[in-house]
Amino acid sequence: MASISIRNLTKRYGNFTVIPDLNLEIADHEFVVFVGPSGCGKSTLLRIIAGLEPISSGDLYIGDKRVNGVQAARRDIAMVFQDYALYPHMRVYDNMSFALELRGTPKAEIDARVKRAAALLHIEPYLDRKPKELSGGQRQRVAMGRAIVRNPKAFLFDEPLSNLDAKLRGQVRAEIKALSQELKTTMVFVTHDQIEAMTMADRIVVLQSGTIQQYDTPETVYERPANQFVAGFIGSPAMNFFPVEWHEERAVLSQGGTVVPLDGETTGRLSKAGNAVLGIRPEHFAVATDAADGIAINVKLVEPLGSDTLIHFDLASASAIARVDPALRPKVGDRINLRPQPGKTHLFDSASGQVLR
């Protein structure tokens, strides 16, 4: 168990800089999720922590020890790989006991630990099988088991759920979270699935092009995104964005000039900035009964999800989505008045994308 501290880290492949200058503090026992689009450097960062990838410059501390030049084998970290990377020639049991055996753990203790991990992950019936005799989900559990029999300083996961079907994924997601609460070990989990990020993390690192866009709790990242990238990346369906202006003492859409009813605080910020990008999540539209209260839209497409209904519409020559009460039973072609819920709107700088506070 240990904290992880990354200071002024850069990583280059030849002339290509993957990570320009990164600082990150992960506390002891913390469950941190790296999330970001494909190619943003999540795996690279994880592999640097594991010691599988050398650092170009900067420092990496695990606990209070600087580990820059320390081999992976000596970092005492457990990692679950995206393709599981089980040892094909070893039985499940031996896959799990291998690391302990290398450390000279007594046979009886190895056996106890393997059995305990197998019970936790429901893989006891498969201990004598070879990896190729297992399903994808079972292999995934073995890969997890191989990590948790050890008592490492930290667990690293690289998209371990991406090969599972939706149902199993949800199940294993819950298991990992329960496990993290039981083991109380530092965990770093890489994913590009923002639902995984939201549900499991103590804190989320949102990465783009090797730079941290925001590092905060899931609630904060969702409720108060630091910039337009984070706002658009976290949340599903994604946040709607409309360019807006302060025009004749009112907030209007830059395209078409429709008046947008905003709360007083947001209005104040816009009046200072002059223009901005307005962000509204689909779930933060309210349906207004009075036409003067909202923005009139035409329903273009309806997606009933059961618990909610999504309506697609065009506004200011962009497509947008609102999440509404299914009791409303909207139909294609209906004219509906939508109003942003007070206190739930975001304004971003038109040029930099940074949130306006």
Binding site: Q71, A73, R74, F81, D83, A85, H89, L102, R103, R146
Partner: protein, 275 residues
Amino acid sequence: MNDAANTDRWIRWLNTLQLVLAGVVIMAPTVWMVLSSFKPSFEVTAYPPTMIFSPTLENYVALTKTTPFLSYALNSLIVTVGSTALGLLFGIPAAFAVSWTRISWPAILTLAARMAPGTLFLLPWYVMFRQIGMIGSYTALILSHAVITLPIVIWVLLPSFDGIPRSVFEAAQVDGCSVTRILWRIALPLVASGVAVSAILAFVFSWNYFLFALVLSNGDTKTLIAAAFNFIGEGSTQWGALMAAATLIALPPLVLAALVQRWLVSGLTLGAVKG
């Protein structure tokens, strides 16, 4: 539909023809050699070859009586096993290192050495080994034959090692394995059939190679194949005994190949390891 069936039949017929032709080309001399070894000596060179004869072991008896055949065979075995072991000892770690580091020039170099004609090495070796008084020693022969075995081991194993997913090695590193341990505990078991194939190929090539032994051996350490070479043109060539010798020399490689033919195919097609 009939057309397709016809084409199919034609292709099958051509395939058979091809196999038969290949079989004849490869098998005919072998069969001739084996049959001749059992003929009375006056019939061996008869033309046209006699097809019906009363088989005799006289050539084999003559071979063991007139030549130290068994001690030559032992020499061959010592040199071949020694050089194969040497080839494996250095070839396995070398192939793994090349695969691990992806630095390939050492492998290319060994291949180039293997492709160069043996005569290129022979003269310097002869001078060198004579200066240190090792001409005629098993050590000199085993060392020289390692030039045959080492590249075979490296080049048969390299693709096998390359076929192991990188992440399996990385998982082992994270589990606490040093690189040497990864080779012995993870990589080697996964390429076991490749090792067997490389060992057999190295054995066969080393067994069959005669040039180095011709020059670097002496009367006591001469290998079978080099000795057999001497049978020809020693006054009146004893064709019958020569056929018997050739048959016996060809036996170990053939038996080995037959024993492991299934492995040989899968090892040569280099099935990647699927986790």
